[in-house]
Symmetry: C2
Subunit: 117 residues, 2 copies
């Protein structure tokens, strides 16, 4: 089972809201900060700052660059990340607690990092 980022990096991830259907995480880091390998369920990401980071999972690597106020889909995945920008990161992750209805949860499946749908 994938590691919960709230447990692996409690200084970076914290739970800001939770009920039966969703758990919402706030993420904050500074340039150079790295996360331990961890898992995300299907989530919606909302950036509250601009973001520049490198994600790593298995043999894959992806660079992510987003403006503030942007919404992205993060299909269920495991990765670790690093702030490779020159400013602090602030983002919200809305985690869906219910399992996806179909096995293929869409085009974001098998994609490292956030996608536009």
């Amino acid at each position: 089972m994938a590691s919960d980022p709230v447990l692996t990096n409690p200084g970076l991830y914290r739970v800001v809201m939770e009920n039966e259907r969703v758990r919402v995480l706030e993420y904050r880091d500074a340039p150079g900060d790295r996360t331990a390998p961890h898992g995300h369920p299907d989530s919606v990401m909302v950036t509250l700052s601009s973001i520049r980071r490198r994600l790593v999972a298995g043999g894959q690597e992806a660079e992510v660059e987003l403006d503030s106020g942007v919404v992205r889909w993060l299909a269920s995945q495991e990765h670790s990340g690093e702030n490779i920008g020159d400013s602090d990161t602030h983002a919200i992750f809305v985690e869906l607690k219910e399992p996806a209805r179909s096995v293929d949860s869409g085009p974001g499946q098998d994609r490292l990092g956030p996608s536009t749908r």
Copy 2:
């Protein structure tokens, strides 16, 4: 069936992301703007500005005041709203497309406006 705010107020609400599991709306208005009566499914709200508004539904009225960067649960509901503050509103609504697993979707049920869980 409740009216879709994207149809009733297309100048204020727009779809910024959609897949099988979620539809995400961006809301923007100016002081004095009002929405027509509309419905929200169970949603997570993330404010990208401070917000001050009055919500009305049936005989109920609620005033909502939130800072920027705040996360709230919006239990499935119908209402209309008005920006009663002196600044523009900017917010994101992550709508859950799947029906709730239980009939009672939690403490937010039957509450007008956003709640903390």
